[in-house]
């Protein structure tokens, strides 16, 4: 067990190093010269050369990479070309907004997915089941920007229930979190349904019914815990999914998180910010998966005993 977790930790560090190397090489395959971008249009070739020297871009590639990794270990992600400031504080200042959005998205998708999945499993084959499965199919297949614009149009622009954009109150978070969560909710509903159907067929469930327990207690108290395990693994993976989702969702809803930052940086080819957000996202994905690995034994005694 301890060995298993240690191995996962080492893997995590290796993955992060790999991501660092790839994002670093990104800089070199781009035709844009950062020194020219910084120097501006009134610069002479000498000035560009002086800035290239300041940035260390006149050193060999290997030295630059070592320098970059060394800086990373000190928490230094470099300076943005367009915002002309340290990248790390930019990301840290925006990270809470993204985390709030992701947490709200996960809560929504799990709540929706569990509710509809259980209902569908209990009413298997009926009208409710078929409607839920149909809806979940739509949820899983819809591109996020379409969902975002649709929700924005219906609930903000037309009905006026929620603000159109911005950050600050609980009402601001509903539509972006829903946009993020719809896709996951669809998956969860399908997964919970099939897991529940499997579990509901088991002998111990029949025993519970035979004991005279109410239907609700059988489903929620006996069947559900056994259907939960795959969900926990999924939530870990979802953190990674959401990291890509927030780019679109934050851009549409004007949400001041790292996704919006990445979106701006991509349009401006601001490589240090793109690299920084990529690294932080990679870190979040790795941590999410690690978390799922660590939590699973607590939920499932069978893993604990391995």
């Amino acid at each position: 067990m301890a060995f298993f977790l240690a191995r996962r930790l080492v893997q995590a560090v290796l993955i992060l190093l790999g991501v660092a190397a790839i994002t670093f090489l990104l800089l070199y395959f781009l035709p844009a010269d950062p020194a020219v971008l910084i120097a501006g249009r009134s610069a002479t070739p000498q000035m560009v050369a002086a800035i290239r020297h300041e940035l260390g871009l006149d050193q060999p590639l290997v030295m630059q990479f070592l320098h970059y990794v060394g800086n990373l270990l000190h928490g230094d992600l470099g300076r943005s070309y367009t915002q002309k400031t340290e990248v790390l504080p930019l990301i840290l200042a925006r990270l809470p907004a993204t985390l709030i959005l992701m947490a709200a998205g996960i809560v929504l998708e799990v709540a929706l997915g569990l509710t509809f999945g259980i209902i569908a499993a209990v009413r298997r084959g009926g009208f409710v089941d078929r409607s839920v499965m149909m809806l979940s199919f739509v949820g899983v297949s819809s591109p996020q920007f379409v969902v975002a614009l649709l929700l924005l149009y219906v609930f903000a622009a037309t009905l006026g229930w929620f603000p159109m954009s911005g950050f600050g109150t609980a009402r601001h978070v509903v539509l972006p979190a829903l946009t993020l969560g719809v896709l996951g909710a669809g998956w969860y509903a399908r997964m919970v349904r099939s897991a529940m159907i499997e579990v509901l067929r088991q002998d111990y469930v029949r025993t519970a019914h035979a004991k005279g327990l109410s239907g609700r207690r059988v489903v929620l108290g006996h069947a559900l815990p056994n259907a939960l395990l795959p969900i926990i693994a999924m939530v870990g993976i979802d953190i990674g999914q959401f990291m890509s989702g927030v780019v679109v969702v934050e851009a549409v809803y004007g949400w001041p998180g790292i996704g919006q930052l990445a979106w701006q940086a991509i349009q401006q080819v601001d490589v240090p910010i793109i690299m920084g957000v990529t690294l932080v996202s990679a870190l979040a994905i790795v941590l999410g998966n690690l978390l799922a690995d660590f939590v699973a034994p607590f939920v499932d005694p069978r893993i604990r005993s391995q």
């Binding site: 120097a39 009134s42 610069a43 000498q46 002086a50 300041e54 915002q83 340290e86």
Partner: protein, 542 residues
């Protein structure tokens, strides 16, 4: 009328009388007080005056800092600011400034001549990595500073606390304009050092406003500087910049009265609808700026090395149609200089749209069957659509142009690489003048010195004779011979276009800002020719 109103009234008329009907709207007296909200979609970049160089932060930096000289609001007319007076030597090489007494930074310390020297040296020092270093090239010692071999510039001397002297290596008619740029803002050394490389987030100056709050990705709050040395300014108590607002959402909030200025203006697709809507009457500011959008024709790449070919493609472009594509937010251009620029030649008509004559010229150049080439463009709307229109116009005279739509920095890289981009559409990256002087449209984009790797002369145009004429013009003393100098520059630009045609000047784009009805003052201070929104001059109607 108070003095302020007279100044802007008169000067604005002088600057724009050729284009705009006289307005009476700004005869109102500005009222003081009020807190206003301004929105933008993108983050605000650094507020460090030695580094900030985009159309969003330019006006905010301008409001935070002061400079020796400055423009009167809404005009291109220079006047004293931090310096009360100045004196130019007869040979045009020595400028001596007397500082206004009693000016303090917002940290409480008095502004001295030594601060002026240190601030400009900081802007030139390659360690600062500022984009404005090149503007100060004419000061003695600037070359050593940019090469990294000197830490100070001998051409700047603080004679006493209130007197600073600049010595130039050659007369430079644009020098006062350079000192009015944000890059020449005076900053307190101790605050720059205390900020440890992040002065751009913790700016301290002696300007009309101070930065009170900056919540990254959300808002910046600027508060009136009560000790500002220019009396009766600024008028508003504070302005708050809200970030991350989609332009359409910002306009809805503007209608509801939640927002005072929508900084991103109106999305092109909505422009005509809103311009015609009575609801937005008096809320749309739509003005010329010192901008020309153009196609560069690479004079080092075949077949554009032949002037006849460059003239032919100049005649092939239907500029009126392109202006319609962007809903009329521009005026077709006949020449390099924009109409608001001194030296613009109203009588010069350039190359009229004439595909038949273009084909004849191509045939003369031995290209009866046309040729294949490439045109680079920024990949953000509406630039690719404009490039498609250019592509169609070129196809009509037998020129097949392949469109290369890439991100802005990659367009800049392609244009600045020798022999790479035959044509570049400048839209989205176009040349907006740094200061209202025609030489700014020559040296950095058409002069021999900028036809280098990483330069912005994407035509790779170098005409030694024209270069010499430009240098002679810039050595003419200003203001004594300003009119004569403008005429010389006008001739230079029309000669370039008539004989060599290194560009297709396509249009002069207007800037659009949407403002609430309660915001007072003339349009000129909302799209100020030298700083976009002039936060110091705008006010709230009572």
């Amino acid at each position: 009328m108070n003095k302020f109103v007279k100044q802007i009234g008169l000067a604005a008329l002088l600057a724009t009388s050729a284009l705009m009907p006289a307005r009476l709207a700004f005869a109102d007296t500005p009222t003081n007080g009020g807190d206003i909200i301004v929105t933008y979609k993108d983050d605000i970049a650094t507020l460090d005056p030695a580094i900030g160089y985009d159309w969003q932060n330019w006006s905010m930096i301008n409001a935070l800092f002061s400079r020796l000289v400055d423009y009167k609001p809404g005009t291109t007319e220079l006047g004293p600011s931090l310096a009360d007076s100045y004196d130019v030597s007869d040979d045009g090489k020595v400028y001596t400034f007397k500082l206004h007494p009693g000016v303090k930074f917002t940290n409480g310390r008095a502004v001295t001549a030594a601060d002026v020297k240190w601030s400009i040296e900081r802007a030139v020092n390659p360690k600062t990595q500022g984009p404005g270093a090149g503007f100060f090239h004419s000061i003695v010692g600037a070359d050593k500073m940019t090469a990294g071999t000197a830490d100070t510039m001998e051409g700047i001397t603080a004679i006493d606390d209130h007197t600073v002297k600049f010595t130039l290596s050659q007369p430079d008619a644009t020098f006062l304009n350079v000192l009015a740029l944000n890059f020449a803002s005076v900053v307190p050394k101790e605050a720059v050092e205390a900020a440890g490389g992040d002065f751009g987030k913790h700016p301290v100056g002696s300007g009309a406003f101070t930065l009170k709050e900056w919540t990254i990705g959300q808002r910046l709050v600027f508060q009136k500087n009560p000790d500002y040395f220019i009396k009766d300014r600024p008028h508003v108590d504070s302005f708050t910049i809200e970030i991350g607002q989609e332009p359409l959402v910002a306009l809805l909030r503007l209608q509801k009265g939640e927002v005072d200025i929508a900084g991103d203006g109106i999305p092109p697709a909505k422009y005509l609808e809103m311009k015609k809507s009575p609801e937005f009457e008096g809320m749309i500011v739509d003005r010329q700026q010192l901008e020309t959008s153009y196609v560069t024709l690479n004079t080092q790449v075949k077949p554009f090395d032949n002037a006849k070919v460059r003239q032919a493609v100049n005649m092939a472009i239907n500029k009126d149609r392109i202006v319609r594509i962007i809903n009329g937010r521009a005026t077709p251009a006949s020449q390099v200089l924009p109409p608001l620029m001194p030296g613009y030649d109203q009588n010069y008509k350039g190359y009229a749209y004439d595909p038949e004559k273009a084909k004849a010229l191509l045939a003369e150049a031995g290209l009866k069957d046309g040729f294949s080439t490439q045109i680079y463009t920024s990949n953000t709307d509406p630039q690719p659509r404009i490039t498609q229109a250019i592509q169609q116009d070129l196809a009509a005279i037998g020129v097949k142009a392949e469109i290369k739509a890439v991100a802005n920095p990659n367009v800049i890289a392609a244009g600045g690489t020798q022999g790479q981009a035959p044509m570049v559409w400048s839209g989205g990256l176009g040349w907006i003048a740094d200061f209202p002087d025609p030489s700014d449209f020559y040296g950095p984009i058409l002069g021999c010195g900028s036809a280098v790797a990483g330069g912005w002369n994407w035509s790779w145009y170098c005409n030694k004779d024209i270069d010499a004429r430009g240098q002679a013009a810039d050595a003419m003393p200003v203001p004594a011979k300003a009119e004569e100098r403008n005429k010389v520059w006008a001739q230079i630009f029309t000669d370039i276009q008539t004989n060599d045609a290194p560009w297709i000047p396509v249009f002069n784009e207007r800037r659009v800002v949407a403002k609430a009805k309660r915001m007072g003052g003339p349009d000129e201070i909302y799209i100020d020719p030298t700083r976009v929104i002039n936060y110091e001059a705008i006010y709230v109607n009572k």
